[in-house]
Amino acid sequence: MMDMDNIAVQCKSMTKTYGSGSTLVPALRGVDLEVRTGELMMLVGPSGSGKTTLISIIAGVLDRDGGECTVFGHDFKHMTHYEKTRYRGQNIGFVFQLFNLIPTLSTAENVAVPLIINGVKRREAIERACEILSRVGLGDRTSSPPTQLSGGQQQRVAIARALLHNPKLIVCDEPTSALDHETGHKILELLHDVAVGIDRALIVVTHDARIFEFADRIAKMDDGFIISVEKSNYRLTNKKKN
C-alpha cells in the first residue's frame, strides 16, 4: 500500500480528446499514472502517443476531459482560471524543448522571471538568479543574452529558471532533443542533482533512449495509454558508485 503523502501526481482513467465533430482525435484514452515525491519519472513513447498532452494536463496548462488528476493533492478541475495560474506559478517549474528563453532579456533576467511573476522585487530576483546560475555553471554569463549561449548553456539557463522559485513539481519536455549526446547527459545529471529532492518530483518527456538511465521509473506510452511502468537502476548504480 502506497503512502499518500509520498504521491506527487496521481492520474486515474484520464482522457483527453482534441477536435470536434467528425474530426475527434483521442490523445489520452484512460491514463493511470502515479509519480512519487523524490522521483524522476520519464514518459517515453512514439510521437503522437500522448506524452505532451499528459504533462500539459499534469502541469495545469491544459484541461482534461475525463478521469481524475491531482498534483500534490490539488485537482486543477476544481480551481478557477486565476487559481490555476497562481498554483502553476508557485508550484510548477517548466523546462521546454526549445528552452523558450526571452531573447531580449539577459540570462539572469530570464532566470528571474518566475520570481518576478510571484511578486519578488526585480533586484532581489536577479540576485537570486545569479546565485542559481553559478550553481549550474553559468555564473560568468549572467548578463549575456540567451542568443549568445550554446544549446547546452541555454538548457542550463532553462533549468535554473525552472528551479529558482523552488517548485514542487518540475516538468521537462524533451530537454535533450536539441542537444548532442554529451551535453544531453550533463543536462540530465544536472537536473537529477538539483531538481530531485525529497519533497519534489520531476517528470521528463523524452524520445531520447540515451538518457533513460537517469530515470527512477519509466512510463511507456502508446496510442493514448500507459502500457508499462518500469523501474530504472540509475539510483542504485549511482549509490553503488558512491
Binding site: T85, F94, F96, I102, T104, P114, I117
Partner: protein, 384 residues
Amino acid sequence: MNFIALKMLVGNRARYLSIIIGLTFASLLITQQSAIFMGLMTRTFGFLTDTSFPDIWVMDPKVQYIDDIKPLKETESIRVRSVEGVAWAVPLYKGLLKARLSNGTFQTCNVIGLDDETLIGGPPQLLQGKLADLRRSDAIIVDIVGATGKLARSTPEGKRIPLKIGDTMELNDHRAVVVGICQVQRTFQSQPVVYTTYSRATVFAPRERKLLSFVAAKAKPGQDFHTLCQRIRKTTGLAAYTKDEFKKLTIRYYMKYTGIPINFGTTVVLGFIVGIAIAGQTFYSFTLDNLRYFGTLKAMGATDRVLLQMILLQAALVGSIGYGLGVGVASTLGALSGSTELSFLLTWQLLLASAIAVMLICAVSAVLSMRKVIRLEPAIVFQS
C-alpha cells in the same frame, strides 16, 4: 513585469522602429493636416480678428460669411446708432477692387474703408506711418505681405521693389498714395489688404446705389451682447451678430459650401487608417512574434491581468513616442512655414485631439493583441 514588457518591445528593434515610424507618420499627418485646416479656417475670419473694437456687426440678413458683401444704405449706420444700448456705430466698407501695378498688370485688393471721423476698425499693427495719415489726400495703408509681394514693383531686371510710404498706385483708376505699412492676419484669399477712409473707399469703388458693407457697433457698458443683437434685429430688420457669432457663421459657410473640410478630413482619416494599418498591424505582428513567450509567462504563472498590463504598457510607450515625434515634426514644419503662404494653427485642442487619435490607434492595436494573448492556451509552450 514592466521591465520585461519594455525589454521585449525595445529589444525587437525592427518591429519597435516600424511601430514608432507608423505612429509618427499617423500623428504627423493627423496633426499637420488638422493644423493647416484650422489655420485656413482662422484665415476666413482674419478681418474680424484684426478689427477688435466693435462688439456687434450689423449687415444684410442674407449675408452668409464675411466676404459675402450685400451692401446696405448708408443711413443704416444712423439707424443702428439710434438703437437703445448702442454706444456707437460706424460704417465700414469692405470690397474687392482692382489695383493697377506699375508694370501694367492688375491685382485684386481687399479694400477696407474706415469711418472718416473715428478711423475705427483700422489695422491692428502699424509697421510704418500713422493711422491718422489716412486723412491725407488719396491716402491708403497697405499690408506688409501685399507691399512686399503682390503689390511690389518690378524692375526691368525682374527685381521686386516693395511698396513704401510715398509710393503711388491706382485703385480702380483712382490715384492712391501709400502713407503706411501695416501687419494684418493673412486672409483666406491671400489678397493684399488696403485700408483707407470710408468716403475714399466709396470713391474707389465702382458706383452702386448702396455701398455700405457693415455697420460696426459698440455696446454700452453692462449691455448683454445677445440681447442687444436681438434689439438691433428687431428695430432695423438687419442681421446683427456678435464677433464670435459672425466668425461661426463664416466658418459654417466654408464648412458647408466648400470642399475644404472633406479634403482635409480625408487626409486626416487617411492618417488614422495609415496608423491603424502600419502601427496597429506591426504591433499585432509583434505580439504574434512573442506569443510563445507570452505563453511561457502564462504557463509560469503570469495572470491574464499581468499580461494585459504588459501589452498596454507597450502600446502606451510606442504611442507616446510616436505621438511626440509626430507632433514635434508637425510643429517644426509649421514653424518653418511661418513666413510662407501656408496656414498653420496648432492649438491645444488640436494637440489633444491628435493625442486621442493616436491613443485610439494604440488602443485598437492593443485590444487585438490582448484578445490573442487572452485566448492563448498556455499549452502552446509544449509545441515545438
